[in-house]
Protein backbone atom coordinates (compact mmCIF):
# COMPACT_ATOMS: atom_id res chain seq x y z
CA UNK A 1 0.00 0.00 0.00
CA UNK A 2 2.94 2.33 0.13
CA UNK A 3 4.92 4.26 -2.37
CA UNK A 4 8.08 2.91 -0.80
CA UNK A 5 6.92 -0.64 -1.36
CA UNK A 6 6.05 0.14 -4.93
CA UNK A 7 9.46 1.56 -5.56
CA UNK A 8 11.16 -1.33 -3.82
CA UNK A 9 9.11 -3.87 -5.72
CA UNK A 10 9.75 -2.21 -9.03
CA UNK A 11 13.43 -2.27 -8.28
CA UNK A 12 13.19 -6.03 -7.91
CA UNK A 13 10.96 -6.81 -10.85
CA UNK A 14 12.56 -4.49 -13.31
CA UNK A 15 16.18 -5.57 -13.18
CA UNK A 16 15.68 -8.45 -15.60
CA UNK A 17 13.27 -7.01 -18.09
CA UNK A 18 15.16 -3.83 -18.74
CA UNK A 19 18.20 -5.18 -20.51
CA UNK A 20 16.29 -7.60 -22.66
CA UNK A 21 14.71 -4.51 -24.28
CA UNK A 22 13.39 -5.06 -27.73
CA UNK A 23 13.53 -2.11 -30.11
CA UNK A 24 10.31 -0.21 -29.83
CA UNK A 25 8.87 2.44 -32.10
CA UNK A 26 10.11 5.67 -30.50
CA UNK A 27 6.70 7.36 -30.66
CA UNK A 28 5.06 4.79 -28.43
CA UNK A 29 6.83 5.71 -25.23
CA UNK A 30 6.01 9.37 -25.74
CA UNK A 31 2.38 8.50 -26.36
CA UNK A 32 2.31 6.35 -23.27
CA UNK A 33 3.85 9.10 -21.16
CA UNK A 34 1.39 11.70 -22.37
CA UNK A 35 -1.18 11.09 -19.59
CA UNK A 36 1.51 12.00 -17.09
CA UNK A 37 1.81 15.54 -18.42
CA UNK A 38 -0.87 17.32 -16.34
CA UNK A 39 0.63 15.93 -13.17
CA UNK A 40 4.16 16.74 -14.28
CA UNK A 41 3.25 20.34 -15.16
CA UNK A 42 1.48 20.91 -11.84
CA UNK A 43 4.29 19.36 -9.83
CA UNK A 44 6.93 21.21 -11.80
CA UNK A 45 5.40 24.68 -11.55
CA UNK A 46 4.05 24.58 -8.02
CA UNK A 47 6.36 22.22 -6.15
CA UNK A 48 9.68 21.78 -7.94
CA UNK A 49 9.84 25.45 -8.89
CA UNK A 50 9.44 26.83 -5.37
CA UNK A 51 11.83 24.21 -3.97
CA UNK A 52 14.57 25.14 -6.42
CA UNK A 53 13.86 28.79 -5.76
CA UNK A 54 14.10 28.10 -2.02
CA UNK A 55 17.67 26.89 -2.41
CA UNK A 56 18.52 29.99 -4.42
CA UNK A 57 16.52 32.41 -2.27
CA UNK A 58 18.14 31.19 0.92
CA UNK A 59 21.44 32.46 -0.48
CA UNK A 60 20.12 36.02 -0.89
CA UNK A 61 18.88 38.73 1.45
CA UNK A 62 15.43 38.85 -0.20
CA UNK A 63 12.81 40.75 1.79
CA UNK A 64 9.15 41.59 1.48
CA UNK A 65 9.64 45.33 1.71
CA UNK A 66 12.41 47.89 1.43
CA UNK A 67 15.46 47.95 -0.81
CA UNK A 68 16.16 44.24 -0.48
CA UNK A 69 12.69 43.45 -1.86
CA UNK A 70 13.37 45.10 -5.21
CA UNK A 71 16.92 44.01 -5.65
CA UNK A 72 17.91 41.03 -3.50
CA UNK A 73 21.66 40.68 -3.07
CA UNK A 74 23.61 37.47 -3.20
CA UNK A 75 24.84 36.82 0.32
CA UNK A 76 26.18 33.29 -0.09
CA UNK A 77 25.90 31.10 2.97
CA UNK A 78 25.42 34.04 5.30
CA UNK A 79 21.85 33.06 6.17
CA UNK A 80 23.01 29.58 7.13
CA UNK A 81 25.97 30.70 9.24
CA UNK A 82 23.61 33.11 10.95
CA UNK A 83 21.15 30.25 11.55
CA UNK A 84 23.75 28.04 13.17
CA UNK A 85 24.78 30.75 15.61
CA UNK A 86 21.19 31.82 16.31
CA UNK A 87 20.09 30.44 19.70
CA UNK A 88 16.45 30.91 18.67
CA UNK A 89 16.95 28.63 15.70
CA UNK A 90 18.75 25.96 17.71
CA UNK A 91 15.99 26.03 20.30
CA UNK A 92 13.37 25.85 17.58
CA UNK A 93 15.11 22.87 15.98
CA UNK A 94 15.21 21.09 19.33
CA UNK A 95 11.53 21.82 20.00
CA UNK A 96 10.66 20.44 16.57
CA UNK A 97 12.55 17.22 17.28
CA UNK A 98 10.77 16.82 20.61
CA UNK A 99 7.40 17.63 19.07
CA UNK A 100 7.84 15.03 16.32
CA UNK A 101 9.31 12.32 18.54
CA UNK A 102 6.90 12.58 21.45
CA UNK A 103 3.66 13.46 19.70
CA UNK A 104 4.01 11.39 16.52
CA UNK A 105 6.55 8.58 16.82
CA UNK A 106 5.63 7.75 20.42
CA UNK A 107 2.18 9.21 21.02
CA UNK A 108 0.15 8.77 17.85
CA UNK A 109 1.95 5.67 16.69
CA UNK A 110 1.79 3.65 19.90
CA UNK A 111 -1.68 4.83 20.88
CA UNK A 112 -3.00 4.12 17.38
CA UNK A 113 -1.47 0.66 17.40
CA UNK A 114 -2.80 0.03 20.90
CA UNK A 115 -6.33 1.04 19.97
CA UNK A 116 -6.25 -1.07 16.80
CA UNK A 117 -5.01 -4.10 18.75
CA UNK A 118 -7.62 -3.64 21.46
CA UNK A 119 -10.29 -3.41 18.78
CA UNK A 120 -9.46 -6.91 17.57
CA UNK A 121 -10.40 -8.16 21.03
CA UNK A 122 -13.28 -5.84 21.86
CA UNK A 123 -16.91 -6.10 20.85
CA UNK A 124 -17.98 -4.63 17.54
CA UNK A 125 -20.16 -1.98 19.13
CA UNK A 126 -17.41 -0.66 21.38
CA UNK A 127 -14.92 -0.63 18.51
CA UNK A 128 -17.40 1.36 16.46
CA UNK A 129 -17.92 3.93 19.22
CA UNK A 130 -14.19 4.34 19.81
CA UNK A 131 -13.56 4.58 16.09
CA UNK A 132 -16.05 7.44 15.79
CA UNK A 133 -14.65 9.31 18.82
CA UNK A 134 -11.03 9.03 17.69
CA UNK A 135 -11.77 9.84 14.07
CA UNK A 136 -13.95 12.81 15.03
CA UNK A 137 -10.92 14.70 16.31
CA UNK A 138 -9.11 13.89 13.08
CA UNK A 139 -11.90 14.77 10.66
CA UNK A 140 -12.35 18.20 12.23
CA UNK A 141 -10.50 20.93 10.38
CA UNK A 142 -7.15 21.63 11.97
CA UNK A 143 -8.08 25.15 12.97
CA UNK A 144 -11.20 23.95 14.81
CA UNK A 145 -9.09 21.32 16.54
CA UNK A 146 -6.81 24.20 17.52
CA UNK A 147 -9.71 26.18 19.07
CA UNK A 148 -10.96 23.13 20.90
CA UNK A 149 -7.52 22.38 22.29
CA UNK A 150 -7.10 26.05 23.19
CA UNK A 151 -10.34 25.96 25.14
CA UNK A 152 -9.40 22.66 26.76
CA UNK A 153 -6.02 23.82 28.08
CA UNK A 154 -7.11 27.37 28.87
CA UNK A 155 -6.90 28.61 32.47
CA UNK A 156 -10.70 28.58 32.60
CA UNK A 157 -10.87 25.44 30.49
CA UNK A 158 -12.03 21.87 30.81
CA UNK A 159 -8.71 20.43 31.97
CA UNK A 160 -8.69 22.69 35.01
CA UNK A 161 -12.29 21.75 35.72
CA UNK A 162 -11.07 18.16 35.84
CA UNK A 163 -8.11 18.87 38.12
CA UNK A 164 -10.46 20.85 40.38
CA UNK A 165 -12.51 17.69 40.80
CA UNK A 166 -9.45 16.14 42.42
CA UNK A 167 -8.80 19.27 44.47
CA UNK A 168 -5.74 20.30 42.48
CA UNK A 169 -5.50 23.88 41.45
CA UNK A 170 -4.83 24.06 37.74
CA UNK A 171 -2.53 26.35 35.87
CA UNK A 172 -2.54 28.13 32.55
CA UNK A 173 -1.25 25.12 30.65
CA UNK A 174 -0.70 27.04 27.45
CA UNK A 175 1.58 29.43 29.31
CA UNK A 176 3.43 27.22 31.80
CA UNK A 177 3.85 24.03 29.73
CA UNK A 178 3.12 25.08 26.13
CA UNK A 179 5.04 22.19 24.57
CA UNK A 180 3.20 19.60 26.63
CA UNK A 181 -0.11 21.17 25.64
CA UNK A 182 0.61 21.21 21.91
CA UNK A 183 2.05 17.68 22.05
CA UNK A 184 -1.07 16.32 23.76
CA UNK A 185 -3.25 18.23 21.33
CA UNK A 186 -1.40 16.74 18.38
CA UNK A 187 -1.73 13.23 19.78
CA UNK A 188 -5.44 13.81 20.31
CA UNK A 189 -5.85 15.10 16.80
CA UNK A 190 -3.60 12.74 14.85
CA UNK A 191 -3.98 9.30 16.45
CA UNK A 192 -6.90 8.40 14.17
CA UNK A 193 -4.60 8.12 11.17
CA UNK A 194 -2.32 5.57 12.82
CA UNK A 195 -5.34 3.75 14.20
CA UNK A 196 -6.86 3.35 10.74
CA UNK A 197 -3.58 2.27 9.17
CA UNK A 198 -3.15 -0.40 11.85
CA UNK A 199 -6.78 -1.50 11.70
CA UNK A 200 -6.37 -2.16 8.01
CA UNK A 201 -3.01 -3.88 8.53
CA UNK A 202 -4.29 -6.12 11.32
CA UNK A 203 -7.25 -7.08 9.16
CA UNK A 204 -4.83 -8.49 6.62
CA UNK A 205 -3.05 -10.73 9.14
CA UNK A 206 -4.49 -14.18 8.42
CA UNK A 207 -6.22 -15.59 11.48
CA UNK A 208 -4.86 -19.07 10.81
CA UNK A 209 -1.33 -17.94 11.55
CA UNK A 210 -2.06 -16.45 14.94
CA UNK A 211 -4.27 -19.43 15.73
CA UNK A 212 -1.51 -21.84 14.77
CA UNK A 213 0.84 -19.97 17.09
CA UNK A 214 -1.75 -20.16 19.84
CA UNK A 215 -2.01 -23.91 19.43
CA UNK A 216 1.77 -24.10 19.62
CA UNK A 217 1.47 -22.41 22.99
CA UNK A 218 2.54 -18.85 22.22
CA UNK A 219 1.03 -16.39 24.72
CA UNK A 220 -0.61 -13.11 23.78
CA UNK A 221 2.50 -10.95 24.07
CA UNK A 222 4.63 -13.50 22.21
CA UNK A 223 2.10 -13.71 19.40
CA UNK A 224 2.09 -9.93 19.20
CA UNK A 225 5.90 -9.62 19.17
CA UNK A 226 6.85 -12.55 16.96
CA UNK A 227 3.89 -12.79 14.61
CA UNK A 228 1.59 -9.81 14.44
CA UNK A 229 4.15 -7.00 14.56
CA UNK A 230 6.54 -8.58 12.02
CA UNK A 231 3.62 -9.18 9.70
CA UNK A 232 2.54 -5.55 9.79
CA UNK A 233 6.05 -4.10 9.81
CA UNK A 234 5.63 -2.44 6.45
CA UNK A 235 2.55 -0.64 7.65
CA UNK A 236 4.48 0.42 10.75
CA UNK A 237 7.29 1.85 8.67
CA UNK A 238 4.92 3.62 6.31
CA UNK A 239 2.87 4.98 9.14
CA UNK A 240 5.97 6.28 10.93
CA UNK A 241 7.15 7.98 7.78
CA UNK A 242 3.84 9.65 7.10
CA UNK A 243 3.07 10.84 10.62
CA UNK A 244 6.63 12.09 11.14
CA UNK A 245 6.43 14.23 8.05
CA UNK A 246 2.89 15.39 8.83
CA UNK A 247 3.92 16.38 12.33
CA UNK A 248 7.07 18.08 11.10
CA UNK A 249 4.93 20.54 9.17
CA UNK A 250 2.23 21.17 11.77
CA UNK A 251 1.62 24.91 11.83
CA UNK A 252 -2.03 25.74 12.40
CA UNK A 253 -2.54 23.76 15.60
CA UNK A 254 0.39 25.43 17.35
CA UNK A 255 -0.32 28.83 15.81
CA UNK A 256 -3.86 28.85 17.20
CA UNK A 257 -2.97 27.41 20.60
CA UNK A 258 0.15 29.36 21.55
CA UNK A 259 1.31 31.24 18.43
CA UNK A 260 4.73 29.85 19.29
CA UNK A 261 4.84 31.58 22.65
CA UNK A 262 5.39 32.40 25.35
CA UNK A 263 8.73 33.86 24.29
CA UNK A 264 9.33 31.22 21.65
CA UNK A 265 8.80 28.31 24.06
CA UNK A 266 6.70 26.44 21.49
CA UNK A 267 8.10 27.88 18.27
CA UNK A 268 8.78 24.89 16.05
CA UNK A 269 10.48 25.37 12.69
CA UNK A 270 7.32 26.03 10.63
CA UNK A 271 6.33 28.82 13.01
CA UNK A 272 9.81 30.27 13.00
CA UNK A 273 9.99 30.26 9.19
CA UNK A 274 6.64 32.02 9.07
CA UNK A 275 7.63 34.62 11.65
CA UNK A 276 10.93 35.43 10.01
CA UNK A 277 9.53 35.67 6.49
CA UNK A 278 6.18 37.36 7.06
CA UNK A 279 6.41 39.11 10.43
CA UNK A 280 10.00 40.35 10.21
CA UNK A 281 9.90 40.38 6.40
CA UNK A 282 13.24 38.57 6.16
CA UNK A 283 12.39 36.23 3.29
CA UNK A 284 15.97 35.07 2.78
CA UNK A 285 16.32 33.99 6.41
CA UNK A 286 12.84 32.41 6.44
CA UNK A 287 13.68 30.53 3.27
CA UNK A 288 16.89 29.23 4.82
CA UNK A 289 14.79 27.76 7.66
CA UNK A 290 12.45 26.30 5.05
CA UNK A 291 15.40 24.64 3.32
CA UNK A 292 16.50 23.13 6.63
CA UNK A 293 13.00 21.70 7.05
CA UNK A 294 13.05 20.33 3.52
CA UNK A 295 16.38 18.67 4.21
CA UNK A 296 15.11 17.16 7.47
CA UNK A 297 12.12 15.82 5.56
CA UNK A 298 14.39 14.38 2.89
CA UNK A 299 16.64 12.70 5.47
CA UNK A 300 13.66 11.13 7.21
CA UNK A 301 12.24 9.76 4.01
CA UNK A 302 15.58 8.27 2.98
CA UNK A 303 15.97 6.59 6.39
CA UNK A 304 12.53 5.04 6.20
CA UNK A 305 12.87 3.91 2.59
CA UNK A 306 16.19 2.26 3.36
CA UNK A 307 14.76 0.54 6.42
CA UNK A 308 11.89 -0.74 4.32
CA UNK A 309 14.14 -2.14 1.62
CA UNK A 310 16.61 -3.74 4.01
CA UNK A 311 13.91 -5.66 5.82
CA UNK A 312 12.53 -6.77 2.52
CA UNK A 313 15.89 -8.06 1.32
Amino acid sequence: MTAAEVVARDAVTRGGTERRGRRRPPGRTVLRLLPLSPAVVLLGVFLAGPILWAFYGSLTNAALTGVAAKDPQWVGLENYTELLSDPDFLQSLWLTVIFVLVSAVLGQNLLGLGIALLMTKASKAVSAVVGVCVVAAWVLPEIVAGFVAYAFFNREGTLNQLTALFGIEGTDWLFTVPMLAVILANIWRGTAFSMMVYQAALNDVPEEITEAAMIDGAGGSKRLWYITLPMIRRSIATNLMLITLQTLSVFTLIYVMTAGGPAGASTTLPLMAYEEAFRYSDVGYGTAIAVVMLLIGAVFSVIYIRALRERKG
Binding site: M1, A4, D10, W53, P141, G297, S301
Partner: protein, 284 residues
Protein backbone atom coordinates in the same frame (compact mmCIF):
# COMPACT_ATOMS: atom_id res chain seq x y z
CA UNK B 1 -24.47 -6.38 18.48
CA UNK B 2 -22.23 -8.81 20.33
CA UNK B 3 -21.15 -11.70 18.27
CA UNK B 4 -21.73 -15.02 20.01
CA UNK B 5 -18.39 -16.11 21.40
CA UNK B 6 -16.80 -18.62 19.04
CA UNK B 7 -16.66 -22.13 20.37
CA UNK B 8 -13.03 -22.64 21.22
CA UNK B 9 -10.75 -24.03 23.87
CA UNK B 10 -9.63 -20.58 24.86
CA UNK B 11 -13.04 -18.91 24.89
CA UNK B 12 -13.05 -18.47 28.67
CA UNK B 13 -9.88 -16.43 28.61
CA UNK B 14 -11.03 -14.64 25.53
CA UNK B 15 -14.01 -13.26 27.42
CA UNK B 16 -11.82 -11.73 30.13
CA UNK B 17 -9.61 -10.22 27.46
CA UNK B 18 -12.66 -8.85 25.68
CA UNK B 19 -13.98 -7.17 28.82
CA UNK B 20 -10.59 -5.59 29.52
CA UNK B 21 -10.31 -4.45 25.91
CA UNK B 22 -13.82 -2.98 25.96
CA UNK B 23 -13.21 -1.07 29.18
CA UNK B 24 -9.89 0.40 28.08
CA UNK B 25 -11.31 1.39 24.72
CA UNK B 26 -14.23 3.17 26.36
CA UNK B 27 -11.82 5.10 28.60
CA UNK B 28 -9.83 6.13 25.54
CA UNK B 29 -13.01 7.13 23.74
CA UNK B 30 -14.01 9.33 26.70
CA UNK B 31 -10.62 11.08 26.63
CA UNK B 32 -10.98 11.79 22.93
CA UNK B 33 -14.56 12.98 23.30
CA UNK B 34 -14.06 15.25 26.30
CA UNK B 35 -12.44 18.20 24.47
CA UNK B 36 -15.05 17.94 21.72
CA UNK B 37 -17.95 18.11 24.13
CA UNK B 38 -17.00 21.73 24.87
CA UNK B 39 -17.45 22.59 21.22
CA UNK B 40 -20.97 21.22 21.02
CA UNK B 41 -22.16 22.44 24.43
CA UNK B 42 -20.70 25.92 24.06
CA UNK B 43 -22.23 26.35 20.62
CA UNK B 44 -25.70 25.83 22.15
CA UNK B 45 -25.07 28.01 25.18
CA UNK B 46 -25.59 31.79 24.91
CA UNK B 47 -23.57 32.21 28.13
CA UNK B 48 -20.72 29.97 27.04
CA UNK B 49 -17.20 30.24 28.45
CA UNK B 50 -14.16 28.02 28.05
CA UNK B 51 -15.64 25.73 30.70
CA UNK B 52 -17.39 22.58 29.65
CA UNK B 53 -20.84 22.94 31.13
CA UNK B 54 -24.39 22.04 30.30
CA UNK B 55 -26.10 25.22 29.10
CA UNK B 56 -28.69 26.60 31.51
CA UNK B 57 -30.83 27.25 28.46
CA UNK B 58 -30.27 25.58 25.14
CA UNK B 59 -30.65 28.01 22.30
CA UNK B 60 -29.64 28.47 18.71
CA UNK B 61 -28.81 32.12 19.33
CA UNK B 62 -25.11 31.56 18.63
CA UNK B 63 -25.91 29.97 15.31
CA UNK B 64 -28.32 32.67 14.19
CA UNK B 65 -25.77 35.29 15.20
CA UNK B 66 -23.05 33.91 12.90
CA UNK B 67 -25.32 32.87 10.02
CA UNK B 68 -24.76 36.01 7.99
CA UNK B 69 -23.50 36.19 4.41
CA UNK B 70 -20.15 37.83 5.12
CA UNK B 71 -19.42 35.74 8.21
CA UNK B 72 -20.52 32.28 7.07
CA UNK B 73 -22.06 31.87 3.63
CA UNK B 74 -19.42 33.54 1.48
CA UNK B 75 -16.47 31.90 3.29
CA UNK B 76 -18.19 28.51 3.09
CA UNK B 77 -18.82 28.96 -0.62
CA UNK B 78 -15.15 29.89 -1.09
CA UNK B 79 -14.18 26.78 0.84
CA UNK B 80 -16.34 24.66 -1.46
CA UNK B 81 -14.83 26.19 -4.58
CA UNK B 82 -11.32 25.80 -3.27
CA UNK B 83 -11.64 22.24 -1.91
CA UNK B 84 -13.87 20.93 -4.67
CA UNK B 85 -11.64 22.37 -7.34
CA UNK B 86 -8.54 21.01 -5.66
CA UNK B 87 -10.02 17.53 -5.34
CA UNK B 88 -11.27 17.39 -8.93
CA UNK B 89 -7.98 18.58 -10.40
CA UNK B 90 -5.99 16.25 -8.16
CA UNK B 91 -8.02 13.13 -8.91
CA UNK B 92 -8.05 13.77 -12.66
CA UNK B 93 -4.31 14.36 -12.82
CA UNK B 94 -3.62 11.43 -10.50
CA UNK B 95 -5.71 8.93 -12.47
CA UNK B 96 -4.08 9.96 -15.73
CA UNK B 97 -0.62 9.80 -14.22
CA UNK B 98 -1.23 6.50 -12.46
CA UNK B 99 -2.29 4.69 -15.62
CA UNK B 100 1.04 4.54 -17.44
CA UNK B 101 2.85 4.02 -14.14
CA UNK B 102 0.67 1.06 -13.30
CA UNK B 103 0.27 -0.55 -16.72
CA UNK B 104 3.53 -0.11 -18.62
CA UNK B 105 6.99 -1.22 -17.62
CA UNK B 106 9.06 1.79 -18.53
CA UNK B 107 12.56 3.00 -17.80
CA UNK B 108 10.93 6.16 -16.61
CA UNK B 109 8.68 4.62 -13.92
CA UNK B 110 11.17 4.14 -11.15
CA UNK B 111 12.75 7.60 -11.13
CA UNK B 112 9.32 9.18 -11.44
CA UNK B 113 7.99 7.19 -8.51
CA UNK B 114 11.05 8.17 -6.50
CA UNK B 115 10.32 11.81 -7.20
CA UNK B 116 6.67 11.30 -6.28
CA UNK B 117 7.71 9.56 -3.10
CA UNK B 118 10.00 12.45 -2.28
CA UNK B 119 7.09 14.77 -2.97
CA UNK B 120 4.86 13.00 -0.46
CA UNK B 121 7.60 13.53 2.09
CA UNK B 122 7.86 17.28 1.65
CA UNK B 123 6.63 19.38 4.50
CA UNK B 124 4.35 21.70 2.51
CA UNK B 125 4.56 24.27 5.28
CA UNK B 126 8.25 24.60 4.50
CA UNK B 127 7.74 25.74 0.93
CA UNK B 128 5.12 28.37 1.67
CA UNK B 129 7.73 31.13 1.86
CA UNK B 130 9.12 30.39 -1.64
CA UNK B 131 5.60 29.76 -2.95
CA UNK B 132 4.60 33.20 -1.73
CA UNK B 133 7.53 34.69 -3.64
CA UNK B 134 6.52 32.72 -6.75
CA UNK B 135 2.94 33.98 -6.48
CA UNK B 136 4.16 37.56 -6.12
CA UNK B 137 6.31 37.24 -9.23
CA UNK B 138 3.61 35.59 -11.35
CA UNK B 139 0.98 37.99 -10.04
CA UNK B 140 -1.02 35.03 -8.71
CA UNK B 141 -1.55 36.45 -5.23
CA UNK B 142 -5.19 36.60 -4.17
CA UNK B 143 -6.29 34.34 -7.04
CA UNK B 144 -8.62 31.48 -6.13
CA UNK B 145 -7.73 29.57 -9.31
CA UNK B 146 -3.99 29.74 -8.73
CA UNK B 147 -4.40 28.80 -5.08
CA UNK B 148 -6.53 25.83 -6.16
CA UNK B 149 -3.86 24.68 -8.57
CA UNK B 150 -1.17 25.00 -5.93
CA UNK B 151 -3.23 23.00 -3.44
CA UNK B 152 -3.86 20.36 -6.11
CA UNK B 153 -0.14 20.16 -6.84
CA UNK B 154 0.69 19.80 -3.17
CA UNK B 155 -1.72 16.89 -2.73
CA UNK B 156 -0.79 15.23 -6.03
CA UNK B 157 2.20 13.13 -4.90
CA UNK B 158 0.14 11.39 -2.24
CA UNK B 159 -2.81 11.06 -4.62
CA UNK B 160 -0.65 9.59 -7.39
CA UNK B 161 0.77 6.84 -5.29
CA UNK B 162 -2.53 6.05 -3.65
CA UNK B 163 -4.19 5.89 -7.07
CA UNK B 164 -1.40 3.81 -8.56
CA UNK B 165 -1.71 1.27 -5.77
CA UNK B 166 -5.47 1.07 -6.17
CA UNK B 167 -4.96 0.66 -9.91
CA UNK B 168 -2.38 -2.07 -9.44
CA UNK B 169 -5.02 -4.17 -7.74
CA UNK B 170 -7.34 -3.95 -10.77
CA UNK B 171 -6.50 -7.05 -12.84
CA UNK B 172 -5.00 -6.28 -16.25
CA UNK B 173 -6.81 -9.22 -17.82
CA UNK B 174 -10.07 -7.24 -18.00
CA UNK B 175 -8.40 -4.48 -19.97
CA UNK B 176 -6.64 -6.97 -22.22
CA UNK B 177 -10.05 -8.25 -23.19
CA UNK B 178 -11.06 -4.69 -24.02
CA UNK B 179 -7.87 -4.14 -26.02
CA UNK B 180 -8.59 -7.26 -28.02
CA UNK B 181 -11.99 -5.79 -28.75
CA UNK B 182 -10.24 -2.70 -30.06
CA UNK B 183 -10.55 -0.23 -27.18
CA UNK B 184 -7.77 2.33 -26.80
CA UNK B 185 -5.83 2.62 -23.58
CA UNK B 186 -7.69 5.78 -22.54
CA UNK B 187 -10.97 4.11 -23.37
CA UNK B 188 -10.10 1.11 -21.27
CA UNK B 189 -9.08 3.45 -18.44
CA UNK B 190 -12.36 5.35 -18.54
CA UNK B 191 -14.69 2.41 -19.14
CA UNK B 192 -13.08 -0.40 -17.17
CA UNK B 193 -10.38 0.68 -14.76
CA UNK B 194 -11.98 3.78 -13.28
CA UNK B 195 -15.37 2.16 -12.58
CA UNK B 196 -13.61 -0.78 -10.93
CA UNK B 197 -11.56 1.46 -8.68
CA UNK B 198 -14.37 3.84 -7.78
CA UNK B 199 -14.10 3.12 -4.05
CA UNK B 200 -10.39 3.82 -4.19
CA UNK B 201 -10.92 7.04 -6.12
CA UNK B 202 -13.57 8.11 -3.62
CA UNK B 203 -11.02 7.63 -0.87
CA UNK B 204 -8.52 9.78 -2.75
CA UNK B 205 -11.13 12.44 -3.52
CA UNK B 206 -12.35 12.66 0.06
CA UNK B 207 -8.82 12.58 1.37
CA UNK B 208 -7.87 15.56 -0.79
CA UNK B 209 -11.13 17.43 -0.21
CA UNK B 210 -10.96 17.12 3.57
CA UNK B 211 -7.33 18.17 3.57
CA UNK B 212 -8.08 21.19 1.40
CA UNK B 213 -11.16 22.12 3.42
CA UNK B 214 -9.16 22.11 6.62
CA UNK B 215 -6.15 23.84 5.14
CA UNK B 216 -5.63 27.12 6.91
CA UNK B 217 -2.03 28.00 6.19
CA UNK B 218 -2.08 28.00 2.39
CA UNK B 219 -5.08 30.31 1.86
CA UNK B 220 -3.94 32.38 4.87
CA UNK B 221 -0.75 33.18 2.96
CA UNK B 222 -1.97 33.24 -0.63
CA UNK B 223 -5.41 34.86 -0.48
CA UNK B 224 -5.54 38.44 0.71
CA UNK B 225 -9.02 39.89 0.22
CA UNK B 226 -11.58 38.73 2.74
CA UNK B 227 -14.17 38.22 -0.03
CA UNK B 228 -12.10 35.33 -1.37
CA UNK B 229 -10.97 33.75 1.85
CA UNK B 230 -12.32 30.33 2.78
CA UNK B 231 -13.94 29.58 6.12
CA UNK B 232 -10.67 28.38 7.63
CA UNK B 233 -9.20 31.88 7.37
CA UNK B 234 -12.32 33.89 8.17
CA UNK B 235 -12.92 31.80 11.28
CA UNK B 236 -9.42 32.65 12.42
CA UNK B 237 -10.01 36.38 12.04
CA UNK B 238 -13.22 35.92 13.99
CA UNK B 239 -11.20 34.21 16.74
CA UNK B 240 -8.77 37.12 16.72
CA UNK B 241 -11.50 39.75 16.89
CA UNK B 242 -14.20 38.19 19.02
CA UNK B 243 -12.83 34.89 20.30
CA UNK B 244 -12.10 36.19 23.76
CA UNK B 245 -15.67 37.46 24.17
CA UNK B 246 -17.98 35.41 21.97
CA UNK B 247 -17.01 31.85 22.92
CA UNK B 248 -20.42 30.51 21.99
CA UNK B 249 -20.40 32.10 18.57
CA UNK B 250 -16.89 30.87 17.89
CA UNK B 251 -18.02 27.35 18.77
CA UNK B 252 -21.14 27.64 16.62
CA UNK B 253 -19.10 28.94 13.72
CA UNK B 254 -16.62 26.07 14.17
CA UNK B 255 -19.43 23.52 14.12
CA UNK B 256 -20.96 25.00 10.97
CA UNK B 257 -17.58 24.95 9.28
CA UNK B 258 -16.86 21.37 10.35
CA UNK B 259 -20.25 19.87 9.43
CA UNK B 260 -19.66 19.55 5.66
CA UNK B 261 -16.48 17.50 5.97
CA UNK B 262 -17.94 15.33 8.71
CA UNK B 263 -21.05 14.66 6.61
CA UNK B 264 -19.01 13.98 3.51
CA UNK B 265 -16.81 11.62 5.43
CA UNK B 266 -19.79 9.68 6.78
CA UNK B 267 -21.63 9.63 3.45
CA UNK B 268 -18.70 8.38 1.46
CA UNK B 269 -17.54 5.86 4.01
CA UNK B 270 -21.04 4.38 3.89
CA UNK B 271 -21.03 4.34 0.11
CA UNK B 272 -17.68 2.66 -0.06
CA UNK B 273 -18.86 -0.19 2.11
CA UNK B 274 -16.30 -2.41 3.71
CA UNK B 275 -13.24 -0.98 2.03
CA UNK B 276 -12.83 2.03 4.26
CA UNK B 277 -11.86 1.80 7.88
CA UNK B 278 -14.69 4.00 9.10
CA UNK B 279 -17.37 2.02 7.32
CA UNK B 280 -17.77 -0.51 10.09
CA UNK B 281 -17.98 2.24 12.65
CA UNK B 282 -20.63 4.19 10.82
CA UNK B 283 -22.79 1.22 9.95
CA UNK B 284 -22.51 -0.08 13.51
Amino acid sequence: MNRPAPLSVASGRRNTVAVLANVSLLVIAACFLLPLSWLILASLDPQASYQTQFPSEVSAANYTAVLTPELTFVPLLNSFLLSGGTAVVTVLAAVLAAYPLSRYQMRFNKPFLYVVLFGTCLPITAIMVPVYSLFVQLNFLDSLAATTLFMAASSLPMAIWMTKNFMDSVPVSLEEAAWVDGASAMNALARIVVPLMRPGLAVVFIFVFIQAWGNFFVPFILLLSSAKQPAAVSIFSFFGQHGAIAYGQLAAYSVLYSVPVVLLYILVSRGIGGSFAMAGAVKG
